[in-house]
C-alpha cells in the first residue's frame, strides 16, 4: 500500500491537493483538499452590491467573467431588475466566448500532455502527419513542409538542452499510446491553439474593455450601442465580433473536434475509468427569454440521481432544503455547531484551521482537511461540469445535444455508458463547444436583428439608484461556469452587502467528504483508477484533469506511516 500526494493542483480559485491510497495497483481511497483561502465572503461584507461583480470576478481568472455574471444576476434578482434584450444577448455572447476559449485551452494546454508524448514527435514522419491532418479536416495548415518545419523547431528546442515547460514530463510512459505522427499533429495544434485563444477573447475586449476580467454592470452591460458613432458599439465593432465567431467555428470544427475524436480513438479504455459519482446537476444558462425562465435556457437546469436518465429533478436555489454547505471536514466553524448544513443565504465563513501546520507531509483526513466547504443537493453529492450539462439536456430530450452526442458515440463506436468516465468528461467538453459556437452565431444574428429593428437599449435604469431599493433584499444568481454549476447568494441590508456566499463548481467537485462519509466527485472518481507505476501516476492526472481543474501537480509518495518511499528522479 502506498499513499500518493498530489499537490498542488492549480488553475482553480485556489490550490488543490489530492492524497490517494493505492493497493494492488489501484486507488482504493482518495482525499481532496483546497489549501488556499482568501476570505472573499469576509471582504464583501458592507460593500456596495453594485461593486460585487468586480470583486467576485477575481475569484477566478481562468474562467473569468462567470463570477461577474453570477454576481450581477444575484443583485438583479434581489432588486427585481430585468435586463434589456440586447444586454441578455451581449452577456450570452461573452458567456459563449469564455466557453470556447476555456475549453480549447483546457484541451490543448492543460489536458493534452496527459495523452500526447511530446518527445515522440521527433520520430514522426512529417509527410504521414500531413496525410493524417488532411484526412481529418480542411484546416489549411497541413502541408508536409509545415509539419517538417515544426519538427525541426522542436529538434532545435530539445537539442538546446533547455526543455523549459516540457522538462521532466512522463515521456515514454507506456500509458502514452499515440503514434509519433499523431503526437506531432497534436503539438502543432497545441501551438496554434495558443495563438488562436488570444483572438477569440477579443470579443470580451469589445464588449467589456479587456480580457481577462472584462467589465460587467448591474442592470445591463456597460457598452452602449450606436451605429452613428465611432465611440460606441458600431458596425465596425459588430463586424469584428462576427469575424471572430466565424474563426471560432472554423477552429472548433476543423481542429479541436477532429483532434479530440482522433485522440479519443486511441484511448477508449479510458471510457471505463474514472466514472465517479452517479449524480449530476446543472443550473443551466444562456437565457433566451430572461433569467427567470430557465425552461427557455439553451443549457437546461436539472438534477439526475443514480444515472437514471428517465427522470430529471428540478433544482431550486432559493429552497433552503435543497442546497446546503457542510463543514464537517472543512477548516471552518458554524455558530450552531459543525454538523448541520447551512443554505448559502444563512451561510457563515469563520476560519477554524485545525492543522497540520506547514511544513507537513500528510493531512489529518479523519478530521478537517480542506479550505473548501462541502455542498450537497438534498444531501446528495453531485458532479457538475460539461458532462452533467450534457446529461441533463440529453435526459430532457434536447435534440441538439442528442444529435452531437449520438454522432460522437457512433464515430467512436462506444455505448452511452462510455460517457460516465474520464474520457466521457473530456469528450463532453468538446461536444458542448460545438453547440456553443453554433449558439454564438444565433445570438449574434439576433443582436444584429434587434439593432436593425431600432432597439439599442443596453441598460435598465430604474433600480440603479440605491435610494430606490428596499431596506432588505435577497437574491440568487445562478450560472454555468465552464467547469460546472456556479451560484452566488446575496443578502442586502440598508443598501449594503450583509451576507454574500459563493458556491463554485470546484467546491461541488473537489470538496472533502461529508459527515456521512459520502465522497465528492474528485474523490469518488479516483476510486478504482489503475496506477501502473506509482512513481509516474499519469493516470491520476488524467482523471483529475478531466474535471478541468489544473495542469500541474506536485506528487509526493509516502508509505502508510507517512515516510517517503523514495525521491523519484527522472530524466
Amino acid at each position: 500500500m502506498a499513499r500518493i500526494v498530489v499537490d498542488p493542483i492549480t488553475r482553480i480559485e485556489g490550490h488543490l491537493r489530492i492524497e490517494a491510497v493505492i493497493e494492488g495497483g489501484k486507488i482504493t481511497d482518495a482525499f481532496s483538499s483546497g489549501t488556499m483561502v482568501r476570505g472573499f465572503e469576509k471582504i464583501l461584507k458592507g460593500r456596495d452590491p453594485r461593486d460585487a461583480w468586480a470583486f467576485t470576478e477575481r475569484a477566478c481568472g481562468v474562467c473569468t467573467t462567470v463570477h461577474a455574471l453570477a454576481s450581477v444576476r444575484c443583485v438583479e434578482d434581489a432588486l427585481k431588475i430585468s435586463v434589456p434584450k440586447n444586454a441578455e444577448l451581449i452577456r450570452n455572447l461573452m458567456f459563449c466566448t469564455q466557453y470556447v476559449q476555456d475549453h480549447v485551452v483546457h484541451f490543448y494546454h492543460l489536458h493534452a500532455l496527459d495523452w500526447v508524448d511530446i518527445v515522440s514527435t521527433l520520430k514522426a514522419d512529417p509527410a504521414e502527419t500531413s496525410k493524417l491532418a488532411q484526412s481529418l479536416s480542411n484546416w489549411p495548415k497541413s502541408s508536409p513542409g509545415y509539419f517538417s518545419d515544426l519538427q525541426k523547431r522542436l529538434k532545435t528546442y530539445v537539442g538546446s538542452g533547455q526543455l523549459g515547460i516540457f522538462a521532466n514530463g512522463y515521456w515514454g510512459h507506456p500509458a502514452y499510446k499515440l503514434p509519433p505522427e499523431v503526437n506531432l499533429l497534436a503539438v502543432a495544434h497545441y501551438l496554434e491553439a495558443l495563438e488562436w485563444q488570444k483572438e477569440i477573447v477579443k470579443i470580451h475586449a469589445i464588449f467589456g474593455g479587456k480580457n481577462p476580467h472584462p467589465n460587467y454592470l448591474v442592470g445591463g452591460v456597460p457598452c452602449p450601442i450606436n451605429t452613428d458613432e465611432v465611440n460606441a458599439l458600431n458596425t465596425e465593432r459588430l463586424n469584428h465580433v462576427g469575424s471572430l465567431i466565424s474563426g471560432a467555428m472554423n477552429f472548433v470544427e476543423q481542429v479541436y473536434i477532429p483532434d479530440l475524436m482522433a485522440i479519443a480513438g486511441f484511448y477508449k479504455d479510458w471510457a471505463a475509468i474514472g466514472s465517479g459519482l452517479k449524480n449530476y446537476m446543472a443550473y443551466g444558462d444562456l437565457p433566451t427569454r430572461g433569467y427567470n425562465y430557465p425552461e427557455y435556457f439553451k443549457f437546461q437546469r436539472g438534477a439526475i440521481l443514480n444515472r437514471n436518465l428517465n427522470e430529471v429533478f428540478d433544482v431550486n436555489g432559493r429552497d433552503s432544503e435543497e442546497i446546503k454547505e457542510y463543514i464537517s471536514h472543512s477548516w471552518y466553524k458554524y455558530a450552531d455547531g459543525d454538523t448541520k448544513g447551512l443554505h448559502p443565504w444563512q451561510g457563515e465563513t469563520e476560519f477554524n484551521f485545525t492543522g497540520p501546520k506547514p511544513p507537513f507531509e500528510q493531512l489529518n483526513v479523519e478530521g478537517k482537511y480542506s479550505w473548501l466547504k462541502t455542498p450537497r443537493w438534498k444531501d446528495h453529492p453531485m458532479e457538475v461540469g460539461p458532462l452533467a450539462r450534457l446529461l441533463v439536456a440529453f435526459a430532457k430530450g434536447n435534440t441538439e445535444v442528442k444529435d452531437v452526442v449520438t454522432e460522437a458515440l457512433q464515430k467512436l463506436n462506444v455505448p452511452v455508458d462510455a460517457l460516465f468516465s474520464t474520457l466521457g468528461r473530456t469528450a463532453a467538453r468538446g461536444l458542448e463547444t460545438r453547440l456553443v459556437v453554433r449558439w454564438m452565431k444565433e445570438f449574434y444574428d439576433q443582436l444584429i436583428a434587434s439593432i436593425k429593428g431600432g432597439d439599442v437599449n443596453t441598460f435598465t435604469r430604474e433600480k440603479w439608484d440605491p435610494s430606490t431599493w428596499p431596506a432588505t433584499a435577497e437574491g440568487v444568481g445562478m450560472t454555468e461556469a465552464p467547469r460546472g454549476a456556479l451560484a452566488h447568494w446575496i443578502r442586502i441590508k440598508d443598501r449594503l452587502i450583509d451576507n454574500y456566499q459563493l458556491v463554485v463548481p470546484s467546491t461541488w467537485n473537489a470538496s472533502p467528504r461529508d459527515a456521512k462519509g459520502q465522497r465528492s466527485a474528485y474523490e469518488e472518481s479516483l476510486i478504482g483508477t489503475p496506477v501502473a507505476n506509482i512513481e509516474q501516476p499519469v493516470e491520476i492526472l488524467r482523471t483529475i484533469h478531466s474535471f478541468d481543474p489544473c495542469l500541474a501537480c506536485a506528487v509526493h509518495i509516502y508509505d502508510p506511516e507517512g515516510k517517503h518511499v523514495h525521491q523519484v528522479q527522472f530524466n
Binding site: 492549480t10 481568472g61 494546454h109 522538462a167 480580457n211 465611440n231
Partner: protein
C-alpha cells in the same frame, strides 16, 4: 545539431554593440535589480552564456488571471516566448512535469543557476497564522518564496496581488495578504494591474532580455515605460472631460456618444497604466473605450478607494484632481457646476503639469533611477 539560438550578447554584437556597451548594460541591470556590484560578473555571465535565460514562475494567493493575460500577448506571441526567448523551467500553469519531477525543475534551476534566473511571482503571500492560508506541497508560500527569491537575478511581481496585495488584502484583509516586496528584502519590479496588460507583461520580460537590463522604475518599483502616465492623461475621451461633457447615467445619450465617464466613477485620473495607449488584447479596446470607467486596478489599495460608481470628488486626499473638484462639492457629490469648474481648473493646472513632465523627462535621461512624484 545547430540548435542554440543566439545569446543576448551574440544578438547585441550582431546589432553592432561593443563588449563595453554590453558590460554597461549589465551594470545597469545589476544596479536596478538591486545586486551588489560584486555580483556583476554573474549577471554578465547569465545573459552572455545562456541561450535562453532560465525563468521560474511561482503562484500564491491569486486567480491565475496574470498567467491568462500573459498568454494573450500579441507581440511577441507566447509560443515564440516559450520556444525562443526564455526557458520557463517552472510554472504550475503550463509545465508538463508533475510531482517530484516538477519540484526537481524548480530545485535544479535554483541550484544550477544561482544569480542567473529570473523569478516571476503571481499572487500575494498570506502572513497570518504561520502561512496556513496558502500551502503548496505542505509548505507555506512564504517559505517557498524566500527560497526562490534568495538567488534570483531579478524578481518581477506580476499583477496587483504580488505588487500590492490586491483583492485579498482589501479590508479586513482576513489572511494578512502581503505583497512580495515587503517580504523578500530585495528590489522587485512591480507590474501591477488586475491583470496587467499582456503586451506590458511580455514587454517587461523582453526589456530585461533584449536590452540586458531592467527598465527604469518609479518610486513604487513600476516600469516607467508602462506606468509613467495616467490613464486620464492619455485617454482618447479626455477632450470631453476638458469640455465638460459627461455621461450622467449608463446608456444615456452622452454614453452613446462616448463622452467622459468621470462622473460614473472612472478612476482614470488617479491610475497610472498603459491602458489608453497600449490598450488590451492586441489593441482592440480598453475599459473606457467599451463604456465602463476605469476601476483603477493597477493602483495600490484600489479595492478600498470607495465604491466604484461614486465619482472621485467624494473621496478626500486623491491628489491633484480632488483639490479642484472639492471646490464645487456639496455633501460629497460634485454638482455639474463643480465638475465644470474642475475641468477649467484642471486645464490651468495641466499647463504646469506638462511643464513639470518635460522637465522630468530631461532629468530622467541623466538618472539611472528616479521617483515619480
Amino acid at each position: 545539431m545547430t540548435g542554440r539560438s543566439p545569446s543576448i550578447w551574440q544578438s547585441m554584437r550582431a546589432k553592432g554593440y561593443s563588449r563595453r556597451d554590453f558590460i554597461q548594460f549589465c551594470t545597469v541591470a545589476a544596479v536596478t535589480a538591486g545586486l551588489e556590484s560584486s555580483a556583476l560578473g554573474k549577471v554578465v555571465e547569465a545573459f552572455e552564456t545562456k541561450s535562453r535565460p532560465p525563468v521560474v514562475w511561482l503562484h500564491f494567493q491569486e486567480c491565475t488571471c496574470c498567467s491568462e493575460s500573459f498568454i494573450r500577448s500579441s507581440h511577441p506571441i507566447v509560443a515564440d516566448i516559450l520556444l525562443d526567448y526564455l526557458s520557463l523551467d517552472y510554472t504550475e500553469t503550463l509545465q508538463a512535469a508533475a510531482g517530484h519531477q516538477a519540484e526537481k525543475c524548480l530545485q535544479d534551476t535554483i541550484k544550477n543557476y544561482p544569480g542567473k534566473y529570473i523569478l516571476l511571482v503571481e499572487g500575494s503571500v498570506p502572513m497570518k497564522d504561520d502561512g496556513i492560508y496558502c500551502m503548496i506541497g505542505g509548505r507555506s508560500s512564504e517559505d517557498i518564496l524566500r527560497e526562490a527569491a534568495k538567488d534570483a537575478a531579478a524578481v518581477i511581481a506580476w499583477g496587483s496581488c504580488a505588487s500590492n496585495g490586491c483583492i485579498q488584502s482589501a479590508k479586513p484583509n482576513p489572511t494578512n495578504a502581503t505583497p512580495i516586496h515587503k517580504i523578500i528584502g530585495k528590489p522587485v519590479i512591480n507590474v501591477p494591474g488586475c491583470p496587467p496588460i499582456a503586451d506590458v507583461m511580455t514587454g517587461v520580460v523582453t526589456h530585461l532580455l533584449v536590452f540586458g537590463m531592467a527598465p527604469q522604475l518609479d518610486s513604487q518599483g513600476r516600469p516607467k515605460e508602462f506606468y509613467g502616465r495616467r490613464v486620464h492623461d492619455t485617454c482618447y475621451r479626455r477632450p470631453y472631460y476638458d469640455a465638460g461633457l459627461f455621461v450622467e447615467t449608463w446608456d444615456d445619450e452622452a454614453a452613446r456618444k462616448g463622452y467622459c465617464l468621470y462622473k460614473m466613477g472612472c478612476r482614470g485620473p488617479v491610475t497610472y497604466n498603459a491602458c489608453s495607449v497600449t490598450k488590451w488584447n492586441g489593441g482592440v479596446s480598453y475599459p473606457i473605450q467599451s463604456g465602463h470607467g476605469c476601476i483603477g486596478c493597477s493602483e495600490n489599495g484600489f479595492w478600498d478607494n470607495g465604491p466604484f460608481y461614486q465619482h472621485l470628488a467624494s473621496f478626500p486626499g486623491f491628489g491633484i484632481e480632488s483639490t479642484a473638484d472639492t471646490i464645487g462639492t456639496v455633501a460629497g457629490i460634485a454638482t455639474a457646476a463643480g465638475v465644470t469648474l474642475h475641468a477649467i481648473t484642471t486645464n490651468i493646472r495641466k499647463r504646469k503639469l506638462i511643464k513639470d513632465e518635460v522637465a522630468e523627462s530631461v532629468e530622467t535621461g541623466k538618472k539611472a533611477e528616479g521617483g515619480d512624484k
